[in-house]
Amino acid sequence: MNLSEKKLVIPGELIAEGRMKLGSHVFVENGKIYSDALGLFYENNEIASVVALKGRYIPRRGDLIVGIVNSEKFSGYTVDVNTINTSYISKDAVRDRLQRGVVFSAKINEVDELGEARLDDVRVFYGGEIFSITPVKVPRLIGKSGSMLNQLKDETGCNIMVGRNGWIWAKGGDTKLFAKALNLIEEESHKSNLTNKVGEFLKKNKVKK
C-alpha cells in the first residue's frame, strides 16, 4: 500500500459509494459509506476503514492492558484501565491479595453491553513508572511486527510493557529518554517514516556511559 494515498477525513465525510467491507470508524447511510471520526482514510483499499487520530479506549475481548487497582470489594477488585467505566477483577483470577494502587497487566476476558470489562491473567508489577499515550496511537508505538518497540527497548534499556489501553509500564534503563521518545511518537504519529525518526532521536539523545 502506498502511504501517499491516505486522506484526512472529518466526521460525516463521504469515503465510498457502493458495497465494500466495513472497517472501523465508518457508518452506512442510504447505501453510502461515511467516516464518523476525524482520521486517515486509505484510498484504494479493499476495506472502507478510517484510522482515528484521537479517541478513548474501547475495551475489546483479548486485549492486553495495563491498569491500577482502585478498590477492593467482597469478591474482587475494581480497577482503572483508562476506559470510560471501571473494570473488575474477580478474586479467583489472582493468587495474592492486591492492594490499592498496585499496577498490573491483564487480559480482557469479557466486555458487557455497557463497556465494563472483566479481566484475567493478572500480572502484578513491582516498581517502575506508568506512561500514557493516546490509545489510538498504540499500534504506532509498537510498529510493524514490534519494530518500534524493540528499538525503544534496545536504545533505552527499559523493560517495557505496552497496554492496548494507552498505558505503558516501564522500569529500569533510561526512562527519561523513553518518555521523550513517547512524546515524539504522540506528536508525529500521523506522519510516515516514524520508526527511523525515533531511531535517530534516540541515538542523538542517548546518554553515553
Binding site: L8, I10, P11, Y34, D36, L114, G115, E188, K191
Partner: protein, 262 residues
C-alpha cells in the same frame, strides 16, 4: 440603538451598515486544539464574538441516577464571561444561558453517536469571552469542531449561523446593531450540512411566509459557509505539521518542482 422616529437604511446600495453584503458572514476563524488538558477544544472568532470551547469525555456520569443506560448525554454548558458584554454580566447562570445550553445540547445530541456510550456524559463547556449577537451560533459551531477534535464519533459536524430581518431586508448573520432594529427578526439556525437536517431553529419576531422561506434558504446557505471554515480548521491542525499529503497535494508539489528545474 436607533431612536424610534429616526430612519436608518440597514441596506444601502447592496451594502449593510458594517460594509458587508446581504449574504455575507462576518470574518470567521477557528483554531483547533487550544487547551492541552481537554480531550478536544477549539477557539473561535466570529466578528466581535470570541468563544473558547473545551470537550471532556465520554466519561462516567455522576450522580448515577442521571445516567441513561441507552445513550450518552451531551452536557452543553453555555456561559458568558462577566466582561463579555458592555455592562457587567452577573456570573450566575441566567435563564437565557440555561435555555441556550438546553437547545444546543439537543442539537449536538443528534449529531453524536450517543448510543455507543451508554451511562456516560460528554461535557462541552462553552465560554463566551466577547459577544456581539449570534453567540449561540458561534458557541455551537465551535463546540462541534471541538467534539470532532476529541475523537467523538459523529454523524456530521453541526454548522450554525444567524439569519433574520432588519429594516425590511432579509440578511445573514446579524450583528448587534442590526439585531436592535425596530422590526428586527433574529433566527439562529443550525444544520448538519450533509443531509441539511435542521438541529436547531429559534425565532424572535414576525415574518411573512415569503420572508420566512427566504430566511431559511439564506440560513442554510450561511451554515454551509460556516461548515467550510470548520472543515478547514480541522484539516489545518494536521496539515500544518505536514502530516497528510493527498494525491493532489503531491501532484502540485511535483509540478512546482518541475517548474523550478525549468
Amino acid at each position: 440603538m436607533a431612536k424610534k422616529d429616526e430612519k436608518i437604511d440597514y441596506v444601502k446600495n447592496g451594502k449593510r451598515v458594517d460594509g458587508r453584503k446581504v449574504e455575507e458572514l462576518r470574518p470567521l476563524t477557528i483554531e483547533v486544539g487550544v487547551i492541552d488538558n481537554a480531550d478536544g477544544s477549539a477557539y473561535l472568532e466570529w466578528g466581535q464574538n470570541k468563544v473558547i470551547v473545551a470537550v471532556y469525555g465520554p466519561r462516567e456520569l455522576l450522580p448515577k441516577h442521571k445516567q441513561d443506560p441507552r445513550k450518552a448525554i451531551v452536557n452543553f454548558q453555555y456561559r458568558m464571561a462577566t466582561f463579555s458584554v458592555p455592562d457587567r454580566k452577573n456570573p450566575r447562570p441566567a435563564r437565557r444561558e440555561i435555555e441556550i445550553s438546553k437547545v444546543c445540547s439537543e442539537a449536538l445530541q443528534r449529531a453524536v453517536f450517543a448510543e455507543r456510550f451508554p451511562n456516560t456524559v460528554i461535557d462541552v463547556f462553552v465560554q463566551i469571552l466577547d459577544s456581539n449577537a449570534g453567540s449561540r451560533a458561534a458557541g455551537l459551531s465551535a463546540a462541534s469542531v471541538a467534539l470532532a477534535d476529541a475523537g467523538i464519533p459523529m454523524r456530521d459536524l453541526v454548522a450554525s449561523t444567524g439569519v433574520g430581518k432588519a429594516g425590511g431586508e432579509i440578511i445573514l448573520d446579524l450583528n448587534k446593531f442590526e439585531e436592535d432594529a425596530p422590526d428586527a427578526v433574529d433566527i439562529p439556525i443550525a444544520i448538519m450540512p450533509r443531509t441539511e437536517e435542521i438541529v436547531l431553529l429559534q425565532m424572535d419576531g414576525l415574518l411573512t411566509t415569503k420572508e420566512w422561506k427566504k430566511c431559511l434558504e439564506l440560513g442554510v446557505k450561511g451554515c454551509k459557509q460556516v461548515y467550510e471554515v470548520q472543515r478547514a480548521a480541522l484539516q489545518k491542525k494536521y496539515d500544518a505539521a505536514g502530516a497528510v499529503k493527498g494525491k493532489e497535494k503531491k501532484k502540485e508539489e511535483k509540478a512546482a518542482k518541475k517548474e523550478k528545474v525549468k
